[in-house]
Subunit: 219 residues, 2 copies
C-alpha cells in the first residue's frame, strides 16, 4: 500500500505538492486503498476518484522508543543516509549532535534542514513505520538527555553484551574518529553504558542502523 | 591499523598495484605496524622501510559461518552495495542468485565480476574482519544448498522469532518484489525456515546487512 503526506483544507484532503507528483506517477485508481499521513497521524484511506475517504487511523506507537543522538559527520551528506537508515531501522527520534570531532558549522547545517526533513519524509513513505519518527534540531553533546537505558556506541570501547530491557533507549553514536575520552566520560557520568557493535569496523551510517536494529533484535 | 593486499615474489613481499597507491597516500612510516592479506591469510606485519616483515598470522575463522544467497537486484549496481554491506555485517560467503524476479543477464553480470571482486577487497580492507569472506560465482535458485540452519527472508512471510542456534547459517534474500510463492515453497522443501526482519520495509542492501547482523546479535 502506498503512503502519502497530506493536509486538510476546507473540509477536503489535499496532498502536498511532491506527493501529488508521486501520486500521479503511481497511477492510483479509483477505490484503491492507500495510507495518508495527516499531521501526526497515519490513516488508511480510499481514493474516491475526486478526494480521499479516511477509513481508520493506523498510527501505532512503537513498543520501544529509540532516541538516537548522532554526531554530525564531517561529510555532511552522510547525515542524509543516516536519517534514511535510522528510519528504516525503527528510530523514534533522531537528534544531530555537535561534538569535538563532528561537523561544526551550525548555520550551514540549519540551511540544510529543509532537505533533511524531506529525506525523513521520503524514508517514512518508503519504509512505512507504524508511527512517525521525528528529526530534532541539533544540540551539543553536553545537552544530551538520558531517557530509559542509555548506550554510547564508540569504536574504542570494549564490547559489553548484556542489554538491559527497557521501553526507552537513548543511543549516542560517535563521529568518525570517535568521541574524545572526556566526552565518553561525560556521558558515562550521565548514566550511559558503553556497548560495541562487534569486531568489524562499520561506516557511520551503517553503525547507526546497526545500533538501532540491534536493540530491536535483542528484545 | 591499515590493511593491504599483497603477494610473495622471489622471497620478498609486494603490494598489489592499487594497494601500492593506497600505501603511498597513507604515508606509512618505517617500523609502522600494518596488516597484510597474502593469499588466504591475514598477517600482522612491520614496514621495514624497504619491505615487510611478517610478525604473526592473525586469521581467525568466524565462530559462526554465514552463507548469504542474494537474489541479484534488477539495478545491478545495488549488488556492489550489497557486497560491501554483507562484508561489514560479517558474512562468510556471498553467492548472487538468479531467480524469477532477479536480474537475468548472466553474461552481463560476469563482465562485472572483476569490479565486484574489487568491491569485496575494499570492504575487507575497510571493515577488517578477522577472516576473508568470499564472493562466489552466481547460481540459480534451484542450486542453493543448505548448510546449518536455513532462513529465507522474504517480505511476504510472517515474522518468526525463534532462531535455532547453529554454527552455520544459510540465508536467502529475495529480490525487490519478493520471491515467487513456488520459489519459497521450493526452499521450504529443502529445509529452509522463513523469518522476517521486522515491520519496516527495508531496501535490499539494508535487508542483507540486517539479516546477517541479526544472526550475530541473537547468538
Amino acid at each position: 500500500m502506498h503512503r502519502f503526506f497530506a493536509f486538510r483544507k476546507n473540509g477536503t484532503i489535499e496532498l502536498f505538492d511532491e506527493d501529488k507528483k508521486h501520486f500521479k506517477v503511481l497511477r492510483i485508481e479509483k477505490n484503491e486503498l492507500l495510507e495518508l499521513v495527516i499531521e501526526d497521524k497515519i490513516y488508511e484511506a480510499k481514493f474516491t476518484g475526486q478526494n480521499f475517504e479516511l477509513l481508520e487511523e493506523k498510527t501505532k506507537p512503537p513498543d520501544v522508543k529509540i532516541y538516537a543522538n548522532v554526531c554530525i559527520p564531517i561529510k555532511l551528506q552522510t547525515l542524509e543516509t543516516i536519517i534514511d537508515y535510522a528510519v528504516q531501522g525503527g528510530v523514534f527520534e533522531i537528534t544531530p549532535v555537535f561534538c569535538k570531532r563532528s561537523f561544526q558549522d551550525s548555520s550551514k547545517l540549519l540551511e540544510k534542514y529543509q532537505r533533511l526533513q524531506k529525506i525523513l519524509k521520503e524514508a517514512i513513505k518508503q519504509s512505512r513505520p507504524s508511527f512517525l519518527p521525528k528529526l530534532n534540531y541539533p544540540i551539543s553533546l553536553k545537552d544530551i538527555t538520558l531517557q530509559g537505558y542509555g548506550i554510547v556506541f564508540d569504536s574504542f570501547e570494549k564490547p559489553k553484551n548484556d542489554l538491559l530491557k527497557d521501553n526507552k533507549y537513548t543511543l549516542v553514536f560517535g563521529p568518525e574518529g570517535g568521541l574524545s575520552k572526556e566526552e565518553v566520560e561525560f556521558l558515562k557520568a550521565l548514566g550511559f553504558n558503553t556497548h560495541s557493535l562487534g569486531d568489524n569496523i562499520l561506516r557511520e551510517e551503517l553503525a547507526v542502523f546497526a545500533g538501532i536494529f540491534m536493540i530491536r533484535c535483542k528484545l
